[in-house]
C-alpha cells in the first residue's frame, strides 16, 4: 500500500533540490553556445540485467559508431561522443530542437564485469552495450544433496 505522510525532511530536501538546481542553472557547464558540454545527464540510460550480463541502452540518433566512445574503467562505464550541427549557411530555422555538441556520461556498474568482452552495437540510433558479468558476480546454483 502506498501512503503519503507529511515529512519535514522531504520538504527540506525539496527546498535543497530547488537550490541545487538554481546553482546548476547559473554555474552549470552548459553555456548557450553551439558546443555546449553536457557532463552527467546525457544520454538518458536504460540499464537492465540477466544472469550473465548487464545491458545498457541509450538513444543517440544521428550518430555513427565512429562518433561514440565507450570506455570501461574498472567499475565505471563512460559513454562519450558528439553530434554535429546542421548546415547554417544561407538557411533560416523554423524549429531548432535537436541538441548538438559533445556529451559524456559515466555510470557506476553494480557488479564486477569482464572488461575484455564488452560489446557495443549501434542500430538506427540506439546504442546497446553488453557487459558480461565477471564469473564471481554470476549467480551460482548450489546443488543440494540429500543427507546420507
Amino acid at each position: 500500500m502506498l501512503t503519503t505522510r507529511f515529512n519535514r525532511w522531504n520538504t527540506m530536501n525539496g527546498f535543497r533540490n530547488e537550490v541545487d538546481r538554481l546553482f546548476t542553472d547559473i554555474f552549470g557547464d552548459a553555456p548557450a553556445g553551439a558546443l555546449a558540454s553536457r557532463v552527467g545527464t546525457f544520454p538518458a540510460l536504460n540499464i537492465w540485467e540477466d544472469a550473465e550480463h548487464i545491458r545498457i541502452e541509450a538513444e543517440l540518433p544521428g550518430l555513427q559508431l565512429a562518433d561514440i566512445e565507450v570506455v570501461v574503467d574498472e567499475n565505471d562505464l563512460t559513454i562519450k561522443g558528439s553530434r554535429k550541427a546542421p548546415e547554417t549557411e544561407g538557411v533560416s530555422f523554423h524549429r531548432r530542437e535537436r541538441g548538438v555538441g559533445t556529451f559524456s556520461r559515466t555510470v557506476r556498474l553494480p557488479v564486477a564485469i569482464d572488461a575484455e568482452k564488452v560489446e557495443a552495437t549501434l542500430n538506427s540510433g540506439v546504442l546497446q552495450v553488453t557487459l558480461p558479468k565477471a564469473p564471481e558476480a554470476r549467480p551460482r546454483k548450489i546443488e543440494v544433496k540429500a543427507a546420507q
Binding site: A36, A44, W48, I54, E59, P61, G62, S124, V126
Partner: protein
C-alpha cells in the same frame, strides 16, 4: 539548445486517438528553410524505415513512427530513464510545398524530409530595366 537533447520522459497527447494504447513521444525536430526547400530533421531512434508513416494533406504534415518493443515485460530494470514508444508529430506548413515531390529518408535514427517549394514560392529576382 542542448536541453532539447534530453528526451521528454512523459508521453504526450495525440490529437487523434489510436486504438492501441501505448506511450507516444514527440520527436525533437529541426526545420530548416533554404531557397529551394524546407528540410525537416526528426530524431526517431529505434524505428525501422518501413514503420515510418509520413502524410502531407492540405498543408498539414504528419509524421508517425512505430517502435517495436526492444525489451520484454519481464525485464529486470536497474535504471529506467527513458520510455520507449511510438513517435508522432504534426505540423502546419505555411510555405507552398510541392506535395508530389516530397522525399523522405531514414538514416541512423534520424528522419529527413525534403519538402520542395513550388516555383511561385521561390524568391524571384526581378530585373529592373533602365531606359
Amino acid at each position: 539548445m542542448s536541453t532539447a537533447m534530453e528526451r521528454q520522459t512523459q508521453p504526450t497527447e495525440v490529437t487523434a486517438e489510436r486504438t492501441r494504447t501505448r506511450p507516444t513521444y514527440t520527436p525533437a525536430v529541426d526545420i530548416v528553410e533554404n531557397q529551394d526547400e524546407l528540410l525537416v530533421l526528426a530524431d526517431m531512434p529505434g524505428v525501422k524505415a518501413a514503420d515510418v508513416d509520413v502524410q502531407f494533406e492540405n498543408g498539414t504534415l504528419t509524421i508517425h513512427g512505430h517502435v517495436h518493443e526492444r525489451q520484454s515485460n519481464a525485464t529486470r530494470f536497474l535504471r529506467r530513464e527513458y520510455g520507449v514508444g511510438d513517435y508522432h508529430r504534426t505540423f502546419q506548413v505555411s510555405e507552398l510545398v510541392d506535395a508530389e515531390q516530397i522525399a523522405a529518408e531514414y538514416v541512423d535514427g534520424v528522419l529527413k524530409l525534403h519538402l520542395p517549394k513550388v516555383a511561385q514560392a521561390k524568391p524571384r529576382r526581378i530585373a529592373v530595366q533602365g531606359k
